[in-house]
Symmetry: C2
Subunit: 145 residues, 2 copies
């Protein structure tokens, strides 16, 4: 079964057809052809959609994701950029881990006020030490619409 129509892809990816059309419109994915009007997709589309979904949950914008993987799904960034992204992710993973620990902690800690609890404060202190220069750089590449 090499070819999937939009309903199949929607079903398997969990994304509504409108979103798939939208992603195609902004050049994030490509359809393999049409059956009548109906869009048909190759199986690699499912992988691309996984990448996109992962990227989104990583906090990347669709624009940034489009920058990481061309519409053919091939990563097309220079090595350095990819590694920079990976480092960003490392930081984010650290933060999430912290947040998770904080949540688990407050779920178990019997202290009446968590802001008083030394463990909790320690958890927070780490992330509080974030400087102000770290806003995500706005990339303004010519929107390909």
């Amino acid at each position: 079964m090499k070819i999937l129509d939009i309903a199949d892809v929607a079903e398997r990816s969990g994304l509504p057809p409108s979103t798939l059309r939208y992603y195609e419109e902004i050049g994030l994915i490509d359809s393999a052809g049409r059956h009548g009007l109906r869009r048909q997709y190759g199986p690699e589309t499912l992988l691309q959609l996984s990448l996109i979904t992962m990227g989104k949950s990583a906090g990347f914008s669709l624009d940034e994701i489009a920058g990481m993987f061309g519409s053919d799904g091939q990563p097309d960034l220079p090595r350095d950029d990819l590694l920079t992204r990976a480092d960003q992710l490392d930081r984010q993973i650290r933060d999430l881990t912290l947040l998770r620990n904080a949540l688990r902690h407050v779920a178990e800690c019997p202290a009446p006020s968590h802001m008083e609890c030394p463990t909790f404060k320690r958890l927070l202190k780490v992330t509080t030490a974030r400087k102000k220069g770290d806003q995500r750089a706005r990339k303004k590449h010519p929107s390909k619409r």
Copy 2:
């Protein structure tokens, strides 16, 4: 130095004053008072802002964050909910780790086409196996605006 005015908080948190006002407007934070018109904040606000920033980077909406921590910064969810959130985070951390590994891999792998590379495909396969029931449950708690 117990009390900070909005400029200090902006400086230390890295958030613009407009955002701080906005957060206050939607009930996410509270100001401790005014000096003339100027908002003054207690030091705990900085911690709350860290939590908010972490939560955002974890992909939570401001509404959800408001649900996790009351405007006093005290977590006020039942234990079970907190643990559920923590589990969500675990999954997300797994995904991000995967994505990071994928990025690092393609930065190093010499294969001409990554979609052919077995290592890359294996990395993707894991997340592709996501079913469709997993949309984040829309919580419709009465927006407190």
